[in-house]
Symmetry: C2
Subunit: 223 residues, 2 copies
């Protein structure tokens, strides 16, 4: 992890303003943090001292269960917040946040700004939107995970994450995200290949019949 200092910090702040998110001056005590791929931005169970706002890069939210299973609860992208749960709630079990690419965030120290943040209608309004989307998204994932087999959820995931017709996510990550065993994920992927929805190329998969995958994925959506 690197904390930008001096000229590097000044330059970054100048080129990436977040003044529009607040109705007060937040620049004074703000920090700019950069994390490398696979680095932990927040350790599970350890309350952070900052509210983070992601400027560039991606990350993952993890929770570890007592039976050893790990759930990838969600992905974090540019313009998402990290640590907002701890800002708002005194009691909260902190999830682990791991960078999945190089990631640069603004880090707003709680002890300097907590009071002002919680009084700022502009910030709070953005936060309600962010949280309502988050809650809705989790509710959707929850109900879908119980109502549909992996086949449908995987089809959706493949279409969402494929790049130029190529799907190349790490199996391990996908297992944690969709909540199934490695073995079963491979099963269903093989089925997709057998049906010629996908074609395996080395360790990637090329989408051959996106309409078939689409059909499977469409069922998840409520119109």
């Amino acid at each position: 992890m690197e904390v930008y200092k001096g000229e590097k910090k000044r330059l970054y702040l100048e080129n990436n303003s977040i003044a529009h998110l607040f109705s007060f001056q937040v620049e004074a005590f703000i920090e700019v943090h950069e994390y490398r791929r696979d680095e932990w931005i927040i350790q599970e169970g350890m309350r952070p001292d900052f509210l983070f706002y992601v400027m560039e890069g991606k990350a993952k939210i993890y929770v570890t269960h007592q039976n050893g299973k790990v759930s990838l609860i969600n992905f974090i992208n540019a313009h998402d917040y990290i640590g907002e749960m701890e800002l708002l709630n005194d009691v909260y079990y902190t999830k682990g946040i791991q960078a999945s690419t190089k990631i640069i965030c603004f880090a707003i120290p709680f002890h300097r700004y907590r009071t002002q943040l919680l009084d700022d209608a502009k910030f709070l309004r953005e936060m309600t939107k962010f949280l309502s989307v988050k809650a809705t998204h989790m509710a959707a994932k929850y109900s879908q995970s119980l109502a549909f087999p992996l086949e449908n959820r995987l089809a959706d995931f493949i279409l969402q994450t494929a790049d130029e017709g190529i799907y190349k996510e790490k199996h391990v990550t996908v297992c944690d995200y969709l909540g199934v065993s490695y073995r079963h994920l491979l099963h269903v992927l093989t089925q997709f290949c057998d049906k010629n929805y996908l074609q395996k190329e080395g360790r990637n998969y090329q989408i051959k019949q996106s309409h078939s995958l689409n059909e499977l994925a469409e069922v998840l959506k409520n119109k």
Copy 2:
């Protein structure tokens, strides 16, 4: 559904103030709605015109999937909001909300108050707390549903909903909530009886070994 009028309304407002939730006067155009058990407060897919604040009673949030399965996403209790997603988001698939007891709510018309609500730090602060709890709760349910079999989740549910050592929820409701088939729920309940964790009495179940259920439920929690 009954809308309180005249003296009845005046009296209810007098005895149940919600002035503390806002920093502006909201009384003028507020309505008081009472719904009977099983009545739909919001129809799935139909945007409501009010933000509701539940004063007394309980309700359930439902969503219907394309394959016909129904998910009971969550329970709503006194002091919860209804319709906040629609207040905050222009695009949102509205879930169905059904009263499970007689329920009385304050109904705050969007078209009168939307702007003021979205500018009121006091209201927004409460809303962020409400939403963060909601999001956290859904995330927990989601990851637990994937990481643990029904046995654990049902034990937790029984302990949470039992009244004086007696569990008496409707099986159908529980299936929708825990996302399992009726058949399987009965299976696991029978197992609990076989192991003497529960004892069936007519259509209720008496808890005989709460420590055993506790053990099963504890595994869900992250400490």
